[in-house]
Symmetry: C2
């Protein structure tokens, strides 16, 4: 369900698992940057990321030529390239749809701001919530969603709404012109081809663990 719907040609060739590993490599590189390390080998990145050095080289080669044989990768250069590839180093405007507990947990999440994700608004349909705030972010009426989007052009919508309304809201988000959705509703959503959707399903995360517990002996 953690699916990637995407139309763009270059993207089609790059698996979600590759993008995830790039994010992991970047985290290690930034840790190294913080400690003033100049270079890192593919072996070291592989060991830290739980993969092989061949996989590291393959992942990075997709995006160009990095590193010198025998010298490894330049930490600051590779970090800068990965930030660029991942679309970081700029600000992304995020709206949260559904001002509930998950929305609140996300709104106060420090990791977002650090990475350039700015939550610009939260939306709800509940009159008791509209006009209030979610961790300091104004909760707006979902009725104004389309006109707000036209004016403010948010990049990403986070859906933290009940399953039964998820598809309907996704359709509204798509029609309004937002091209990326992080979905927390445990629902199979159908998105247009030019929209990227990631679904985070907590029960599925736990199933990864119960699989491990069940098959470990």
């Amino acid at each position: 369900m953690n699916q990637f719907t995407s139309p763009a040609q270059p993207l089609k060739r790059i698996a979600e698992s590759t993008v995830r590993r790039l994010s992991i490599y970047l985290r290690f590189l930034e840790e190294f940057e913080g400690r003033g390390r100049a270079t890192v080998s593919s072996d070291e990145l592989a060991r830290r990321g739980g993969t092989t050095s061949a996989q590291v080289r393959k992942d990075l080669s997709v995006f160009g030529s990095f590193g010198k044989r025998g010298l490894g990768y330049s930490v600051p250069e590779l970090a800068t390239s990965l930030r660029e590839i991942l679309g970081l180093g700029r600000e992304w405007k995020v709206v949260i749809i559904g001002a509930g507990k998950i929305g609140a947990a996300l709104a106060q999440y420090h990791g977002f701001r650090e990475r350039g994700f700015v939550i610009v608004a939260a939306y709800d349909t509940n009159p008791e919530k509209i006009g209030g705030t979610l961790e300091g972010i104004a909760i707006r009426d979902m009725q104004s969603f389309e006109s707000d989007v036209t004016r403010e052009n948010p990049d990403i919508a986070v859906l933290t709404i009940p399953m039964h309304s998820a598809q309907e809201v996704l359709d509204r988000v798509a029609r309004a012109g937002i091209k990326a959705v992080l979905n927390f509703a445990p629902a199979q959503l159908h998105a247009p081809m030019d929209m990227a959707v990631k679904t985070v399903n907590m029960a599925m995360e736990l199933e990864g663990l119960t699989f491990a517990l069940t098959n470990a002996h």
Copy 2:
């Protein structure tokens, strides 16, 4: 960072991405079960899961022989097998460590109970929270964690604590004998070989989307 640390032989051969697809197939099968469908083809599972029928057959063949050529898979039989493989169809005791906003969002999450995940306790170190409740679940003092675990034997610990204390708490969880952890702290954790750890990193989920947005044109 969504890493799988696991020692067991059968597990080593099965990628996290495979387990995730099994969870997805199960969801489709249960949808079909609900509609009274008797059989499903690998083509149909593939289409719904965004993969190929060859991949579906490969994923399932790891666990035995399912389906008949030309007839497809029996929906109830395959659903039962997948529930068994994923360790579902039984109750799993879960403790939440960190009675904050993410903990609250998880505690009220209906999808858990449906899948047999029962949250038995929440823990915190904050005297103002201890003795209170998190969505109806008692918040206990982290000081009693080890003795509680000895008595109650929870299966899974969910860490919703700040980054700086995550490793220390993971070590306590491991020493107490819990073998599976779902980690929400944006930290690289080192776990013993016989422990399964999954890290959910919201910033990394968003990076999957910004990658798509950045590379889509």
